[in-house]
């Protein structure tokens, strides 16, 4: 895919993600927020603890994916090298 088209696609995807992430709470909170019915909404300390644990777990997942991306780059580079050797 040409570079400008790739950039346009990335911008489009980013636009969709940001719009959906902003739109979802906007729809939910249209009539105002009632924490009494919400999941841990009455207990900010508990909510904070859960949020910190979730962020740590997400960071662990991202770390794993980052390691995988390094391995993928190495696999791709090795396959390119093998392809070049066959070509020459």
């Amino acid at each position: 895919m040409p570079v400008p088209a790739m950039r346009r696609l990335r911008l489009l995807v980013l636009g969709v993600v940001v719009s959906c992430l902003l739109g979802s709470p906007a729809i939910a909170f249209a009539d105002g927020y009632s924490p009494a019915m919400s999941f841990l909404g009455e207990d900010p300390a508990a909510f904070r603890t859960v949020a910190i644990v979730v962020l740590l777990v997400a960071a662990l997942g991202l770390f794993g994916l980052w390691r995988m991306s390094l391995v993928s780059m190495r696999i791709e580079a090795a396959s390119h090298d093998a392809h070049d050797e066959v070509g020459s």
Binding site: I27, A30, S38, F39, L40, F47, M68
Partner: protein
């Protein structure tokens, strides 16, 4: 709800989601690394999405079921694209083209979403059987 119960619920939801998404990923023949990436992507997005949904639930859940569905669908669309981007970042082209990974991301989320509705339906049936309504 205590912190431990909330974390337990999030862990169960994550476990079920990973199982369902791996099941969907098996049909795409992405290999062992692809399956590990699918599980890690769920670890990143699923608890965060559930906390967001839980936090928002006080605003809509009981009064506006249609609005709740709309909010969930929008959040799921965002998750499909975020998971696709993470899969492409982690696997590059070692498990297939970006287009294949987009279809995989859509399939994973459809399966886990369907699984969620089936689970809710079963729990509702159990609740009605255990506590019959007086009418």
């Amino acid at each position: 709800m205590t912190t431990a119960v909330a974390l337990g619920e999030l862990a169960i939801t994550l476990g079920v989601t990973i199982a369902l998404e791996l099941l969907a990923a098996l049909f795409f023949k992405v290999g062992r690394r692809g399956l590990i990436a699918v599980a890690l992507v769920s670890v990143v997005t699923n608890p965060a999405l559930n906390v967001l949904m839980g936090y928002m639930s006080g605003a809509y859940w009981f009064d506006h079921p249609r609005r709740a569905d709309a909010a969930i669908i929008l959040a799921e669309i965002a998750v499909v694209f975020v998971e696709w981007a993470l899969l492409v970042w982690a696997l590059r082209r070692t498990a297939g083209s970006p287009r294949k990974l987009l279809v995989l991301s859509i399939a994973m989320n459809l399966v886990s979403w369907a699984g969620y509705y089936v689970a809710v339906m079963i729990m509702t049936m159990i609740a009605f059987a255990a506590f019959p309504q007086p009418y």
